[in-house]
């Protein structure tokens, strides 16, 4: 498109009143403008992506020079690696628990605080505020909340005469604890997206409903939710991609335990590569993770296209 436009416009430009920018012959400067980014992009993103695949075909150690080409043997090993499957399963469980609850919480909060009033703006700021903290701050706060001896919940339990639970070391409660921590940390982004979508629904739709004396429930199901359908899909996809990459919460709160029940895929990649120094094997796991992410992104692109046509 660009070349035709340019060449087509050039001869005309001398006679007609075309916009000045069409007449300019300094298009080559475009390359100068994009060069800095393109260089960084190729060196630090495109090249590493291919190099990552290359590393995954090797028995490659983090320190030293030992590396041996072994083809797809790492991928074959993955197939028989029970810890890999367990970590993948833990990650899927975490995503399956977090994504629906986060989306629902964000939607309920958005419905409750989407007015353009001062009170609602303050409430939005509160719920969004916890997402500006770093993962190590958030995990520290929630370790303090959930700790079996000095946690705030433990103090409350004791005051009520109940036996406190050490949530992060309990095989049932460890995963839900990570989910609650993540909800507190991450609800801000979906909340902001839902609020923005709700504020864009045309007033006329509601005015029509008002004339029809539609009930609150009917308005919600017939007008509000259908109007934000695209945002719901967007939020779901963004959440799946984001939470599949869970790392800091299990690393810092449960260390993957108890009995590897909260070890996530990224945590296993980190442990394999930077604790056991097997970066060839770790890279093959990273490629699997990338493939899963890609499939999810493709689904979003596909759904987006469906929506538009």
């Amino acid at each position: 498109m660009t070349t035709q436009e340019l060449s087509g416009a050039l001869p005309e430009a001398t006679t007609s009143g075309r916009p000045a920018w069409f007449r300019r012959s300094d298009a080559w400067q475009g390359y100068l403008f994009i060069a800095p980014f393109l260089l960084v992009y190729c060196v630090f993103l495109v090249y590493p992506l291919f190099k990552g695949f290359w590393i995954s075909l090797h028995d490659w150690e983090l320190v030293g020079t030992y590396r041996e080409f072994i083809g797809f043997l790492n991928y074959e090993d993955l197939w028989y690696d029970s810890l890999f499957w367990k970590s993948l399963w833990n990650t899927i469980r975490f995503v399956a628990l977090t994504v629906p609850s986060m989306t629902l919480l964000a939607m309920l909060l958005a419905l409750a605080v989407s007015k353009r009033t001062r009170t609602h703006a303050v409430l939005r700021a509160v719920f969004f505020g916890s997402s500006v903290f770093s993962v190590s701050v958030v995990t520290f706060i929630w370790q303090m909340m959930l700790n079996g001896e000095r946690g705030m919940l433990a103090h409350i339990f004791e005051a009520l005469g109940l036996v406190p639970i050490d949530y992060l070391r309990d095989s049932f409660w460890a995963m839900p604890s990570l989910v609650v921590t993540t909800l507190w940390w991450g609800v801000g982004l979906p909340l902001a997206l839902f609020v923005a979508a709700l504020q864009q629904i045309p007033e006329e739709l509601y005015e029509a409903a008002e004339l029809d004396h539609a009930s609150r429930w009917t308005v919600l199901w017939r007008i509000t939710l259908p109007s934000i359908r695209r945002t719901i899909v967007l939020v779901l996809v963004l959440q799946i991609v984001a939470h599949f990459q869970i790392f800091g919460q299990p690393l810092l709160m449960t260390r993957g335990g108890p009995a590897d029940s909260t070890r996530s895929l990224v945590q296993l990649i980190y442990d394999t590569g930077f604790r056991d120094w097997q970066i060839g094997y770790a890279a093959s796991m990273a490629m699997v993770l990338f493939a899963i992410m890609l499939v999810v992104s493709m689904i979003q692109l596909f759904l987006g296209r469906e929506e538009r046509s």
Partner: protein, 283 residues
């Protein structure tokens, strides 16, 4: 006023009040965990090591803060985070605004295909490239430097995408007068377009700064020497054995200090940050 709430207000005002009350209650519960840590960080360490019961900082002391400022590595980590974040933010703003302007306004051959090539990078997660990036920086001997901490993020194309969107929306007429004067491309970019882009650059800069400050995985593998930790990695390293070594009060004070810059930025630029979220995601 929002339409959803408006339509239903007519019917049942008390339900609205009930919802508002419940939401305010939840908001109070929401801030309690963070406020509790802030409060306890002003309690003497020896009392905290015995018990964390109660919510008020009684007796009140600032000794935890004095200790970490004088004796710990926290101030150094804080400085590392600040340098990394400033370096990363500067680089992202420069390369994104230049590339964004070119993609939006200069008609060079191959523009479309290059833009698609660049946007594809949005689908690559950090976890897919952090291992090869680690080997690359190791080969260059650059680990434990600000350059290593700041550079990889500059390659993420979200900034280019945002700036392209922004420059596309600027009316052509604004440039045309300058074009007729035969001003150079760079002059037009520098003198006319960039000043217009200050709001977009602010949003992008804020997000980059927050990301740099809170980044965890990359600094964790790149900065392995404990003097080169960022404050996020440093806090992670001391919280795992807080009870035995540093003292609970000092870890709490460190967590509060580590959050202070992002929290202040959030208080000042809240509007930019909340609206920027929907801008960046609605692609």
């Amino acid at each position: 006023m929002n339409g959803f709430n408006r339509a239903i207000r007519v019917q049942n005002p008390w339900i609205d009040r009930l919802i508002l009350g419940a939401t305010i209650l939840l908001a109070i519960l929401w801030v309690i965990p963070a406020l509790w840590i802030v409060s306890l960080s002003f309690r003497p360490n020896f009392l905290l090591m015995r018990s964390t019961a109660g919510v008020l900082p009684i007796p009140f002391t600032t000794e935890n803060y004095e200790l970490i400022l004088r004796l710990s590595r926290v101030p150094g980590w804080f400085f590392n985070s600040a340098m990394t974040a400033l370096l990363m933010t500067t680089m992202v703003l420069v390369v994104s605004s230049l590339a964004g302007y070119a993609f939006a306004r200069i008609n060079f051959p191959g523009r479309r295909i290059l833009f698609i090539f660049v946007l594809t990078g949005l689908m690559v997660p950090e976890q897919a490239v952090f291992i090869p990036l680690h080997t690359m920086f190791a080969d260059l001997g650059l680990h434990n430097t600000y350059v290593a901490l700041a550079t990889p993020r500059v390659a993420v194309p979200i900034g280019v995408f945002l700036m392209t969107q922004f420059f596309r929306a600027v009316p052509r007429e604004i440039e045309e007068a300058a074009e007729l004067d035969n001003a150079s491309r760079f002059t037009i970019f520098w003198k006319i377009m960039l000043p217009l882009a200050i709001p977009a650059l602010t949003t992008l800069g804020l997000f980059t700064f927050l990301h740099a400050w809170n980044d965890f995985l990359w600094p964790l593998v790149s900065a392995t020497d404990d003097d080169s930790y960022t404050v996020t990695v440093g806090l992670a390293s001391i919280q795992s054995n807080y009870a035995q070594t540093e003292g609970l009060g000092m870890v709490m004070a460190s967590a509060v200090l580590a959050s202070l810059p992002v929290f202040i930025l959030y208080l000042i630029f809240q509007r930019y940050i909340v609206s920027g979220v929907s801008m960046g995601s609605s692609r």
